[in-house]
Symmetry: C2
Subunit: 509 residues, 2 copies
């Protein structure tokens, strides 16, 4: 069982022992302070009389799984007027609290995205003045265990998501308190103008508790599930390819280098090679969901140094449009699934594939100088998105047949026009969400295309060898999970679509 | 659309142009050789008479999606006697071929794990002597496009998985040939004694085509799906946490260091921190499937430097056995699902949880010296597995309550015995497949436990801060996907359960 540390999930191990004395000194001071606070409490209690509510509230001892009475816990989301006068037990956070004339405390209790009002009112046997004051003194975001009774509310409670009932609290126990002040309130975080993006990302744990963020990551999960379901139903096999690579198959500038025992390794910039090798190994149709690493010093709203790639590759029988059509069907299924689950819509009115040339013509018609359209830059991408939306009423479309000079060497040229390729990009709200193509499956032709693009085939021997033992015609594509999520929800910043985003300036939290 | 290269799936870009002249020289020589071969063919043809089968066979031009006639392709797996006399069109590999008295050629055609016999017989209008010879001359593993007629076989064809029909070939086209010799035949790869492990891993693309390997990776996919389905049905959210970390939260010896712009980053050794932060951020129940990196120079049958972790974390209401029971239910569902899909069984006869002490007692009873059992080493793990199997007739069991000194600092101690912890390992065939525990959710107590284990809390500030804004009690566990797969199938070497394995000596393919 030495394995626990060796290669189980338990990773964090020992480091040097430092500042121990300092820490202990701190702890001593803290204990002294606590003793003083307790003394003050006793003085207060003497003034307020004996506390008949003692035993109904307070801080619980550290939860170490001391017992297991199997008492039912309630999800507040399930509560409504039909539960009137039921006794409930639940764990929740205090979203806000307020004391009313020292006799009543109102707490807004939260579980994930649901909130309910809880009320403590001084009576003469269960709830004391001291208990009410203590309840109102708990920090926002504290976690409490609540015993109480569901009561129909005389009027709709506008401040809570459960608006027809509240909880009359009989016992209130603190499970986990807060140390220090909240860097911002959840209300602030919900209004981005009052809590700056950077502050929120620095305090991502609080930030992630907002209703919006809880929804974003449920949606992220849903996109992954819909992607997998669609591909599983279409005969794909999920693969996991290594992120540690022996050679930097890409230019040195954009690949992260890793110390690997006595040598070096490199982080995979895409599962491109592995996917194609799986095709050469007769997997026929494969997909992967995994991290992709890009060492680009791009500090934009849509670049991360680490993001989740949804990648797929499949053999082709007759034509690469088999892949394009499968991908199109997949996106439409994803959009439909998201709409069904989240009632959020994106305009996908018709099947629309433009060729690159047609896209350029649209831009030229709109006044863009043709001379600047060898490539379509980010600005013109957005413009094209608006033009297509105006003309075809769709937020989603495909561009096919990109010029050879814009695509990587492994892209299959068009059979009729050697300046074009069998490649496509998918667009959503004027930004690219997928890039893909038919790939070259013939090793000799691949070498020729590499040389034509100034790439030395010797530098990518492993890649080329993958095709020497016979590889079927194939194509595929890659999707950035965070980018699709950002564009679907119009988040404007890809960092908001990543749980703990990584960019050239951010490695924490 | 500069994005294609910037951050689409297309990653492979330019490198320096070298050895170009050398390559061209090679190509010239090759062309000369080809011309000679062609000349020889013409001589042969002259001797054999005109080829009336010309136009029915040969090498196809490079597949560039030239046309799309929408002709139906057939999966050989669907063929049986009911398809007698149907015309079929299909792409397949030639597994083996044999020529019979220059008049007939028999090919064994393969699609993934299915094989069917194809036959070419010289007649006087469609199939010529030249065509039969050419068919028999194609290398094993070539990919061909076959037109033919399904014919009921007079007797069962033992060498093929489809044994009641064969295909009478009318046209045969080479889609992708082979360059060079196969490093080993697929038959050899299927019998590990004749193809050494290392040779197979060096030529993984061929190796992966074996029936066994095709099945292994279908099973790997199935484990992932069953894991996700179970957790999705139990209210979990899938998360993706960053593999690039700002601090080496683990000892320097076992973490990979990455050059990150002007500084350094480290590859995550587990998603432990991120999972717990998601719990502190009110996700309640989370899981992740992703790569885990371990810079351990362990060259054993069960260590990889990169493997896929199936990790989960959930809040606890009353007791950490809520987690243990969920994990137990999950494994049983996975085993059941694998059995249903793959008819392969593992003995899971009863619910069996031993405490660490009971496990030690079992080993002592069996003659192991108690003095050597402060920990249970790999050898004794295996022995315990055998003892449990003999006594309880199960390949799967749980050990609960590990001693504090064997677990990481973030493990919650037992409330009644501070030398023990609320932690568990799951075992399968005498090897650990999951390690997990209740975690410490209180930041001050966490610091105390760190100091007791000689870890400086300052060195893990980010981790501890994650708990300062209130974190509910929680627990979880981590599973190595490859290890479960290896033990389920008794593969004896974890490399066989990884598509492209990584160990201290292997970074390719």
């Amino acid at each position: 069982m030495t394995d626990v540390v060796e290669q189980g999930e338990e990773g964090l191990t020992k480091s040097a022992l430092k500042k121990k004395a300092k820490e202990e000194e701190k702890a001593r001071k803290k204990a002294e302070k606590a003793a003083k606070v307790k003394e003050a409490e006793q003085v207060r209690e003497a003034a307020e009389g004996p506390d008949y509510a003692a035993g109904h509230y307070g801080k619980l001892p550290l939860h170490q799984s001391q017992s297991r009475p199997n008492r039912k816990r309630t999800d507040i989301a399930t509560l409504s007027a039909k539960n009137d006068s039921e006794h409930v037990l639940l764990r929740a956070r205090i979203q806000t609290s307020r004391l009313q004339s020292n006799k009543m405390a109102f707490l807004s209790l939260r579980q994930r995205t649901d909130t309910i009002q809880a009320m403590l009112a001084v009576d003469d046997k269960q709830v004391s003045k001291q208990m009410v004051k203590w309840a109102a003194s708990l920090s926002d975001e504290s976690i409490v265990l609540v015993h109480g009774t569901v009561v129909k509310s005389p009027e709709s409670i506008k401040s809570c998501s459960i608006d027809d009932v509240e909880i009359q609290v009989s016992e209130l126990w603190l499970v986990a308190g807060l140390e220090g002040r909240l860097p911002f309130s959840l209300e602030d975080a919900s209004r981005s103008e009052t809590a700056p993006e950077d502050t929120r990302l620095n305090n991502r744990i609080i930030d992630l508790r907002t209703q919006t963020n809880q929804a974003i990551f449920k949606l992220q999960h849903a996109i992954g599930d819909l992607f997998r379901d669609y591909l599983n139903n279409n005969g794909f096999t999920e693969i996991h390819s290594p992120k540690l690579q022996g050679a930097a198959t890409e230019s040195g500038a954009t690949v992260f280098k890793v110390g690997y025992f006595k040598g070096d390794a490199f982080l995979a910039q895409s599962p491109q090679l592995a996917k194609q090798m799986a095709i050469a190994a007769d997997f026929e149709r494969v997909y992967e969901i995994g991290p992709v690493f890009r060492a680009e010093d791009s500090n934009t709203h849509r670049h991360l140094t680490e993001f989740i790639g949804l990648d797929l590759e499949m053999t082709i029988e007759e034509h690469y449009h088999e892949v394009k059509e499968l991908l199109d069907g997949m996106f439409k299924t994803i959009f439909k699934g998201l709409k069904e689950r989240y009632a959020k819509e994106i305009a996908v009115r018709r099947d629309l594939t433009l060729t690159f040339r047609e896209a350029v013509d649209l831009l030229v018609e709109d006044g863009v100088d043709r001379g600047n359209l060898d490539d379509i830059n980010t600005e013109n991408e957005k413009r094209l998105g608006r033009l297509v939306k105006a003309k075809y009423d769709t937020d989603y479309f495909i561009i096919d047949k990109f010029p050879l000079e814009l695509r990587p060497f492994y892209t299959m040229p068009d059979p009729n026009d050697p300046t074009l390729t069998n490649s496509y990009d998918f667009f959503m709200r004027g930004e690219e969400i997928l890039s893909g193509a038919q790939r070259i499956h013939d090793p000799e032709f691949l070498c020729r295309q590499m040389r034509a693009k100034g790439v030395d085939p010797e530098s990518m021997k492993g890649y080329i060898d993958g095709f020497r033992m016979g590889c079927p015609p194939h194509g595929g594509g890659g999707i950035g999970l965070e980018r699709v999520l950002m564009l679907f929800l119009k988040l404007n910043n890809i960092r908001r679509a990543s749980l703990f985003p990584r960019d050239p300036k951010r490695l924490e939290p």
